[in-house]
Symmetry: C2
Subunit: 125 residues, 2 copies
């Protein structure tokens, strides 16, 4: 595995990765990668994160089928954030919404601006 | 200051915030906010981060003039990532580039895909 010397991992060995739909510019989600997830993503061309909750590799779409095909992997100026340009199959969010950022501040409170396109039950059946 | 009960801050009291140009969809940068930065951003309509290096509020553009006007502030499904839709004045990156993600992986190595629009010397004079 490459050392990825230009990538700056935090004390937990992780780096944040923003996923953006490559053609529309829609920001889909943000998750984390360790070196192994980064290496697998680059080798396979399918996005693999590291799940902090489950403490293991998270091959996006492995249970839902909603995979992310990697189009381009970019690194920021400080080397501590990745931007993934992807082609998202279906929905990115576990709630069944196209992207995870479906709440927005209006007059000091969060309101929902997108509805699920599929139920979580259908997504993970 | 609001408690921002739906926002999940990490052990250091911080939450990552992605800045996206509101009309073009360009992902400009990712930085961090504490509760105070979040409150100031919402109150002022100008994006304020927390600088982990300088350990203080970072009013984006305070030294360079390259401010970010807030258009919309969104929160993700888990409550632990913010998406800022902004109107960026000038360039977002301290290197003088429009956005911070100017390096991309090609054949296993990072290559630069954008050049500075202004020199850092001009930016911070």
């Amino acid at each position: 595995m490459s050392e990825f010397s230009e990538f700056v991992f935090n004390d937990d060995g992780l780096i944040p990765a923003i996923a953006q739909q490559h053609d529309t510019g829609e920001v889909l989600m943000m998750a984390w990668m360790n070196r192994e997830a980064l290496a697998e993503t680059l080798a396979s061309g399918r996005v693999c994160y590291y799940s902090r909750g489950r403490k293991k590799l998270w091959r996006k779409g492995e249970s839902s089928g909603q995979i992310q095909v990697l189009v381009e992997l970019r690194l920021d100026c400080d080397g501590d954030t990745i931007l993934l340009q992807v082609d998202q199959t279906g929905v990115a969010c576990h709630t069944g919404r196209r992207n995870c950022f479906f709440r927005t501040m209006r007059d000091g409170a969060l309101v929902e601006i997108a509805k699920p396109e599929i139920t979580p039950e259908e997504l993970y059946k």
